[in-house]
């Protein structure tokens, strides 16, 4: 089962992401964002890149994390199709992005940006949840 669900707003789109741990939540939010952006060519060569992002709060960290991944696609043509070894300690995330070249993706939506609209990370007995809206 996917760790995210897509929803619509008047002009844009968003995802409800969840995860058993905070790191799972961040992974699923990233995979949800990539799902909105397009479908990767399964035959494309895969590479890996280590990433680290920090912020002053968990919510701001989620905003900066997704914004950084969006930048890597739009500015560096690196489209993520997986994440490995994600850890979050003291509002600092480190992870390994598995990516393919941006021209090997069947694009769906051009996301302009990650928004902070009602961005909140909620804790529940089965883990963590967040709703993230993207400007299209």
């Amino acid at each position: 089962m996917r760790g995210f669900r897509v929803f619509g707003t008047t002009a844009d789109i968003g995802i409800h992401a969840r995860g058993a741990t905070l790191a799972n939540l961040f992974d699923n939010a990233a995979l949800g964002m990539y799902h909105l952006m397009g479908s990767p060519d399964p035959a494309a060569p895969r590479r890996a890149k280590k990433l680290a992002v920090s912020a002053g709060s968990e919510e701001l960290l989620l905003f900066r994390w997704l914004s950084e991944l969006l930048y890597l696609y739009d500015g560096k043509a690196m489209f993520g199709c997986g994440l490995a070894n994600t850890t979050i300690v003291d509002n600092r995330i480190t992870s390994q992005l598995v990516w393919i070249p941006g021209d090997r993706v069947k694009l769906r939506h051009q996301l302009k940006a990650v928004t902070m609209h009602r961005l909140a990370i909620q804790r529940s007995p089965d883990g963590f949840r967040a709703a993230i809206i993207f400007d299209v």
């Binding site: 930048y71 500015g75 941006g102 940006a113 902070m116 609209h117």
Partner: protein, 483 residues
């Protein structure tokens, strides 16, 4: 979803939400709408968003919403907020991610009857020559220093490279360049995103449209704008692409973290703001202006590409084509302007997000050639109905800081639009109405279906009747390239 928000009717198309509605509101909110539009406006959270924006420190007058308002981030789309330049704040959420998203309208010497049989050819050529759609890349490779030059010079950057004329600059808002741009401030991320996207239309609701003048409402002003019935016009809607999106993203993060330093608290994190005169505020304004200038360079290049496409498709020269710019303006920007507040001339930062500056006759900030008519104001509708040309009028200065609407405004989500299209071929329906649509992606055409938008004619009627702008001409689409 906004049924609980109290709206006091002030006049036929003007409603007020008192500042007592929420403790954080420093001023009242004013909404321009008809009962029909209000019904749709109440379906999303945009009325609450305009109330939230009334909390910005240093806000003057009232928080204002145009009749095409809908849900946005921070300020709603269609929102206008002015803050005192000396004591107020600046908010990236009051401008939006697509800094200087705007509209450009060109006249031509062509008549509807001359191109009606050739519109497929024109649409195909425009689609081939103007990069558009998700992931599109510009035809010119630019270094960072080239891009910094574009961010400083705006439209002039393109004109200097042979992509336009000096007269284009004269009829572009702010001469196509905000002078206080500081290209050193935007991050390397912004330059990485912007380097391949200059001269691209983008995706979503961005478009290039071939239209004809369907109706003239004010003969004298239309003639001054160079418009007459059945004439072909070309409208371009685009912005600052990934460059501007990244500038907004960077400063949203920075301001969100910096707000507490200035003792600022806002009801919506997306309204993050800092004092205009703080280091973060000054830097945002410098970066925002750089992105605004990028957008003006972008639309100037797009116009040049469109002109070439017409010349190739019709085998005509530039003189015969006569594609000249009528006007170009932003509808997502913050500008330093002077307005009369409580009887006193005051310098303010006017945030317009999905709202268009529409200055009246005689205003010093509009081109001399329009000093007797008022500023041309370009209002795109959806791809199936029509667009409008309006003119600025004096009453808008006291009503809305010289502002009018920016378009039709969405009424349906993208997923709802796709769902509503099930079993329908929107591009064929439009072709049956005589409108040729070209887009790389059939889903975009569904998402942008005419019913997904409010009726722009009703939006424009409200602006006309409420004294925000004057109706001049109506344009109908013949061929559309969707981003």
């Amino acid at each position: 979803m906004s049924a609980h928000i109290p709206l006091e009717k002030i006049s036929q198309f003007k409603y007020r939400i008192p500042s007592s509605f929420r403790p954080f509101m420093r001023v009242p909110a004013v909404v321009y709408a008809s009962p029909e539009l209000l019904e749709k406006i109440r379906e999303d959270q945009s009325l609450m968003q305009v109330c939230n924006s009334a909390s910005l420190p240093g806000i003057v007058g009232c928080a204002i919403a145009m009749p095409d308002m809908h849900f946005g981030y921070g300020l709603p789309i269609g929102g206008v907020v002015a803050t005192d330049w000396d004591s107020g704040v600046v908010s990236p959420g009051g401008v939006g991610f697509d800094i200087n998203c705007g509209v450009r309208l060109c006249r031509t010497n062509l008549m509807r009857s001359e191109i009606n049989e050739k519109k497929h050819l024109i649409a195909d050529m425009l689609y081939r020559m103007v990069p558009s759609g998700v992931g599109s890349k510009g035809k010119v490779k630019l270094s960072k220093s080239d891009l910094q030059r574009a961010c400083r010079m705006g439209s002039k950057f393109a004109v200097e490279r042979g992509m336009g004329e000096q007269r284009d600059i004269e009829v572009t808002e702010a001469g196509g360049s905000v002078p206080w741009a500081d290209p050193e401030i935007p991050s390397d991320h912004a330059y990485d995103r912007g380097k391949a996207q200059l001269g691209t239309l983008g995706s979503g609701n961005h478009f290039l449209e071939v239209q004809y003048v369907d109706e003239i409402f004010d003969e004298e002003i239309a003639a001054s704008f160079g418009l007459h019935k059945d004439q072909i016009t070309v409208m371009i809607h685009s912005g600052s692409r990934g460059f501007g999106h990244q500038v907004c993203t960077d400063f949203l993060g920075r301001m969100s973290a910096a707000m507490h330093k200035y003792g600022i608290d806002v009801p919506d994190r997306q309204l993050a703001c800092v004092p205009i005169k703080s280091p973060e505020g000054r830097e945002y304004l410098g970066a925002m202006a750089a992105a605004a200038n990028y957008a003006w360079a972008n639309r100037q290049i797009l116009m040049h590409l469109a002109r070439d496409a017409f010349m190739q498709a019709l085998s005509v020269g530039p003189k015969a084509l006569g594609m000249d710019l009528i006007y170009d303006h932003a509808h997502n920007i913050v500008k330093k302007e002077q307005h009369i507040i409580d009887g006193k001339r005051t310098t303010v930062a006017v945030h317009r997000k999905g709202a268009t500056r529409s200055f009246p006759p005689g205003h010093p900030d509009i081109p001399p050639r329009y000093s007797s008519t008022g500023q041309p104001t370009l209002i795109p509708g959806d791809m199936g109905r029509c667009s409008y040309v309006l003119a600025g009028i004096a009453s808008s200065m006291s009503e809305s800081f010289g502002t009018t609407c920016h378009g039709a405004g969405r009424v349906m989500s993208r997923s709802a639009a796709v769902k509503a299209c099930r079993g329908r071929a929107i591009h064929r329906e439009l072709e049956d109405q005589g409108i040729i649509v070209r887009s790389a992606d059939i889903v975009t055409i569904k998402e942008e279906m005419p019913e997904a938008y409010k009726d722009v004619s009703e939006v424009v009627r409200v602006c006309h009747e409420a004294g925000l702008s004057r109706r001049v001409a109506r344009l109908k689409p013949m061929a559309v390239v969707k981003g």
